[in-house]
């Protein structure tokens, strides 16, 4: 048998860009991501994960927890951090029914960072990106360039930064659409990775 295979990103075509670097798009699809769902009495799971719907929180082990839908969370980070965060969730006391599945391969993930990121995003998404409506830590789902995405604002050192998740099969399309939208703001493509 061959060596353990490496992760193939949905983005197979990238681009040379001539931007200033003030706005950066990075493909981080390889990041480990899990989907956690709870139904019935979700309080116990919510207490463990934090991040009520619409918000995000950092788990003790370093994973990022996004309250992506009512009773749904996306947990992302390094494989170890995510494993720690979701460990034993299915057996949390007091929850009616909890499930967790590894969604790493199901979702493409991009990070967009820069002061003009909100202006770039408003070209392709109808959400209100102003601070009161979408503050740092906010999580929402919406259509981006006609693709349904989960979006989380996760600022980097005071600079607006956004995580955008979409179906893996649409990853290349969305990547291209984001580059097109960011062009007028001097977007550069960052090194792929985590």
């Amino acid at each position: 048998m061959a060596d353990p295979p490496i992760f193939e990103s949905p983005v197979v075509r990238s681009y040379e860009t001539a931007g200033s670097g003030d706005l950066m798009l990075t493909d981080i699809s390889a990041t480990t991501k899990w989907l956690v769902r709870a139904s019935g009495s979700v309080g116990a799971v919510a207490a463990r994960l934090g991040a009520p719907f619409g918000s995000s929180s950092a788990a003790a082990g370093g994973a990022l927890v996004l309250g992506s839908r009512p009773g749904e969370w996306i947990v992302l980070g390094t494989a170890d951090a995510v494993a720690e965060a979701v460990e034993g969730l299915e057996a949390v006391d007091g929850a009616d029914f909890v499930s967790a599945l590894d969604w790493t391969h199901g979702r493409a993930l991009f990070r967009i960072t820069g002061r003009s990121a909100p202006r770039m995003l408003e070209k392709v998404c109808s959400l209100d990106w102003s601070d009161p409506m979408t503050p740092d830590g906010a999580v929402a789902s919406a259509s981006v360039a006609k693709v349904t995405c989960d979006i989380a604002r996760n600022d980097a050192g005071g600079t607006p930064s956004y995580l955008v998740f979409c179906d893996r099969s649409l990853g290349q399309y969305l990547f291209d659409a984001l580059i097109d939208a960011g062009d007028e703001f001097g977007l550069v493509v960052g090194p792929a990775g985590g």
Binding site: A2, F7, V12, S39, F53, G54, M133, A138, L174
Partner: protein, 949 residues
């Protein structure tokens, strides 16, 4: 009239140091930076710009702005460009439209001679006989179509869009609009100020005397110092539900045009007023212009509009125009004051020019007639918000009545006043808008999960305590004692409207439809009120009684390119797609998916699968991950068959119906663990089935514990099919006993494939061959595919595409939902009646299927043409003998490489469904051929021995 360039004007917007050269009807011209096309041409002495639509009458400048019906020109491949608005650019190729053979010698002007026969709606009354000649008449009429030309090579250039969520949008940057924007911004609102013209200031821009100049400078400075987002050469084209606004930016540094879609919390409507033409004999003659046009020409572009003028004025703006004319050196030969009851009756002269003006029986020689007869309130945006403006005869214009609370009017639309009064009203409107926007913002924020928490109650809805603007008296000047043009872009005269009303087309809408008045380029901005006035006059009623028409979006025309924008069309590809592309794939679009159709020779691909082994990328196959204890209940509800006893490691086929019993989707579902299943759907049905499942779970069975997650693209799916598939799979799979005894048909196993853990595979097969369907974490799909190709090289492994699969499934007689079934196919028609368990307590569509058990339904059957070489078209009709009676149709047909003959599926009436029944199939060519119904759906290996091997 003779126009020429004046010496430098203090208010002018042209840069005389920058000369721009361009062409007009093939001849060289020049103008200055800041000129519009029309002002440059006017300064160069041009006074005829177009020919009218019906009578091809020469037309000159009327309003010198965007709405001027006479200034539509072709610029390169851009038709119907507003020469009164579009700024001149170096190298422009400008041409007159609707002229033949040329602007100055237009043969169709002869139409004017027979105008008494070409009354409005004349075409309804003639050309009926002989009927066969109407197409010929029609071809001739079509040559009269006005407008520019579409160049067939025009590309869709870079048009762009963005969304916006301003607190306040102010439409119109005159003094009131600017004050509204400033006041709202000062109150903390996010404000967007949208100006149709190229610069803010409204009428202050072309107002000569102080204090207008100082006020303009002050407002501009305040705007520059504010946070207001100012968009010029931009228009709020429409107000839609919940203050959804379309705003087109015609000048943009990156895009040709940009459409902004704004959800404004409050819209302030401040477009000012539009000067209305006056109806009298010869009112469309070159040389007759509005007072605003005269002032714009003189003050903005330094153009002298004529030598000797008559001014017809009924208001202060007309008086100002007279003053401007004198200052510009135009001799004002007469002033006809409409406030004294005096009227202009006729403008006379040769077709292309003005020689004299008749007023009160006096004839005055002049080459220019400047008309200030009153105003139209452009209430479009208020109309779109549901308001019905009301006519005030004392002020001779319409006013807003009761717009919704998130739409406020200010400026000339709201009333009259001194400049300081208009500014104060604008500022008060801006403050009110900001207060109300704050209440809306509070509500949005409080209800949006992701937003910052808000404190306190929603602010109260601020009451409208603005002091209303007064309404100046204005004489009702619509038509003089002569008849003239009402709609210059449609060549509809007041006579036409009177005649239409007398014929019974006496409501505004009927008269509009009958005469086409207001249907032209200005969409009623100039002509609506005169149209209403003409009908009112004919009916002996007041304008208020006749009412107005509904102004429909857009406020100003916008290009299809701007509306289309970037045209996002998502496409999906599997993770194996790069391999397909590198290996000569022919793709096919299936919904959003780009899929391999074949790699050059689908028949060869089929033969390879039947003899060796083939692999196909079936990633788009819909996949839903199901978790939870109540999954069997869910499956029992969704599928027509029973699911309670499916063991772990087993896979079962199921068919889903809608509540009317029509086949909705089908696929297999496997049990991976005690409370873990994987459901597959058709590729095209994946999204719909997911919503359907969620609907059942959320609304009908909310107490069931099942989580459904779409994982279609989380896995790359590869079907390995063919007699050598077991051998191939065994070379890449670890830890699974693949023997038929240990891993039987319709079973599922978890496996490590080519070093990739977390894969699972099941033994099913659409192709009818021994086959293994591998579902691999998508980030390793390409790796596994390549591993299979490498490992199977000596087995003759090759890829196959959708076409090969379609052929093989047809050889096996498997139907495809949506191809062999249609929107009325009930489940029993598929021949799958044993899978319809009417003894279940409930499932989607159960009652209809129970009742359908007694009905004679069409059936899907396998069919073979008697001549093996003839492949009927899919959709060829099955008929009764030589008659045209339809008894069914072919739904799928292919040449089978395996059997060497044509094979089909079809739907037939039940009496024809028995094996051996002879059918007549009508081909598209008209030929009727014989065909036979087969005993089984499967043309090939009906016992399924290969599959189960």
């Amino acid at each position: 009239m003779t126009m020429s360039r004046l010496e430098v004007q203090p208010t002018e917007v042209i840069d005389r140091s920058t000369t721009l050269r361009f062409r007009w009807n093939g001849k060289r011209f020049s103008g200055f930076e800041g000129d519009t096309i029309a002002s440059a041409l006017a300064a160069a002495g041009e006074h005829v710009f177009s020919r009218s639509m019906k009578y091809h009458r020469p037309r000159g400048i009327l309003t010198a702005d965007y709405w001027d019906p006479n200034l539509l020109v072709q610029v390169g491949d851009d038709p119907n460009v507003r020469a009164g608005h579009r700024l001149l650019e170096a190298g422009m190729d400008v041409g007159a439209q609707n002229v033949w053979p040329s602007l100055h010698r237009d043969i169709k002007a002869a139409n004017g001679l027979v105008s008494r026969f070409l009354t409005a709606g004349f075409y309804y009354k003639t050309f009926m006989r002989p009927q066969r000649l109407w197409p010929a008449y029609e071809r001739v009429l079509a040559t009269f179509a006005p407008g520019g030309k579409v160049d067939p090579d025009t590309p869709h250039r870079y048009h762009d869009k963005r969304y916006s969520h301003p607190d306040v949008v102010v439409a119109g940057a005159g003094p009131a609009g600017i004050e509204a924007a400033l006041a709202a911004a000062a109150a903390g609102a996010r404000v967007m100020l949208v100006e149709h013209e190229h610069a803010v200031g409204g009428h202050l821009r072309y107002a000569h005397p102080e204090p207008a100049r100082a006020a303009l400078a002050e407002l501009r400075a305040a705007l520059a110092a504010s946070d207001v987002e100012v968009l010029t050469d931009s228009t709020v084209t429409g107000r839609y539900e919940d203050n959804w606004l379309g705003i087109v930016q015609r000048s943009h540094p990156v895009a040709v045009e940009r459409l902004i879609k704004a959800r404004a919390k409050v819209l302030v409507v401040a477009p000012g007023l539009i000067e209305r033409p006056y109806v009298f004999a010869g009112n469309d003659r070159p040389g007759v212009i509005t007072s605003v046009a005269a002032r714009r020409l003189i003050n903005l572009w330094g153009v002298k509009p004529g030598e000797r003028a008559v001014v017809f004025t009924a208001n202060a703006d007309g008086d100002a125009a007279a003053a401007d004319l004198e200052r510009a050196g135009v001799e004002v030969a007469a002033v006809v004051d409409g406030r004294d009851g005096r009227r202009v009756s006729a403008a006379q002269g040769p077709p292309k020019a003005l020689e004299a003006v008749v007023a009160g029986g006096t004839r005055t020689e002049a080459d220019l007639l400047v008309v200030a007869a009153g105003w139209t309130a452009p209430t479009s945006l208020l109309n779109m918000a549901g308001d019905r403006p009301v006519y005030d005869p004392a002020a001779a214009r319409f006013f807003p009545s009761d717009p919704p609370g998130n739409v406020l009017a200010t400026g000339g639309l709201a009333g009259d006043g001194r400049l300081d009064e208009l500014r104060a009203h604008g500022a008060a409107t801006g403050r009110l808008a900001a207060q109300r926007a704050a209440a809306v913002a509070h509500r949005y924020q409080a209800r949006t999960a992701r937003a910052l928490a808000v404190t306190g109650d929603e602010p109260a809805w601020a009451a409208d305590e603005r002091a209303p603007l007064r309404r100046d008296r204005h004489p009702e000047l619509y038509r003089s004692d002569t008849h003239g043009m009402v709609d210059l872009s449609e060549d509809v005269g007041s006579k036409d409207l009177v005649a239409a009303a007398r014929e019974g087309y006496d409501s505004v809408e009927l008269a509009k439809r009958y005469t086409t008045a207001t249907m032209g380029s200005a969409q009623g901005k100039l002509e609506t009120v005169n149209t209403v006035a003409a009908i009112a006059e004919a009916r002996g009623e007041t304008i208020a009684q006749v009412g107005t028409t509904v102004w429909r979006p857009p406020y100003a025309p916008l290009t299809l390119g701007a509306l289309a924008g970037r045209m996002f069309e998502p496409v999906r590809v599997s993770s194996i797609h790069p391999w397909h592309e590198a290996n000569g794939v022919r793709t096919i679009q299936a919904g959003q998916w780009i899929r391999p159709d074949h790699y050059g020779d689908p028949a060869a691909e089929v033969r390879n699968v039947r003899t060796n082994v083939g692999i196909i990328d079936v990633t788009p196959l819909g996949k839903l991950d199901l978790r939870g204890p109540d999954i069997p209940k869910l499956l029992n509800l969704l599928y027509t068959n029973k699911w309670s006893k499916l063991a772990v490691g087993k896979v079962r086929y199921g068919m889903m119906c809608a509540e009317d019993g029509v086949v909705l989707d089908d696929g297999v579902t496997g049990r991976l663990g005690p409370e873990h299943y994987l459901m597959t759907t058709t590729s095209s049905g994946a999204a719909g089935v997911w919503e359907w499942v969620e609907n059942w779970l959320q609304t009908e069975r909310p107490d069931w514990r099942v989580h459904v997650t779409p994982v279609t693209t989380a896995y790359a799916s590869i079907n390995v099919a063919g007699p050598k598939s077991r051998e191939l799979v065994s070379r890449v799979v670890d830890g699974v006993d693949l023997s038929p005894e240990a891993f039987a048909y319709m079973e599922v196993r978890t496996a490590t494939v080519a070093g990739v853990a977390g894969c699972f595979m099941w033994r099913i097969g659409f192709t009818g061959e021994l086959s293994f369907e591998l579902h691999v974490p998508a980030g390793h799909g390409l790796h596994v595919w390549e591993a299979l190709m490498e490992a199977g090289a000596d087995l003759g492994v090759g890829p196959f595409g959708l076409e090969g699969q379609r052929i093989m499934r047809l050889e096996k007689g498997h139907f495809i939902v949506g191809q062999d079934t249609d929107g009325l196919t009930l489940a029993p028609s598929t021949g799958m009646s044993p899978l319809i368990k009417l003894d279940k307590e409930d499932f989607a569509g159960l009652p209809e299927l129970a009742w359908a058990a007694d009905r004679q339904l069409p059936l899907i059957v396998a069919i073979q043409p008697d001549d093996p070489e003839i492949v009927p078209e899919e959709a060829a009709q099955i008929v009764r003998g030589d008659t045209n009676e339809i008894l069914g149709r072919i739904t799928s047909a292919r040449m089978s490489p395996t059997l060497g003959r044509a094979v089909c599926l079809g739907q037939v009436e039940p009496e024809l469904a028995a094996g051996g029944t002879k059918l007549t199939v009508l081909l598209a060519s008209g030929q009727r051929i014989g065909a036979t119904v087969m005993d089984h759906h499967a043309h090939f290996d009906p016992a399924g021995e290969r599959l189960r091997g």
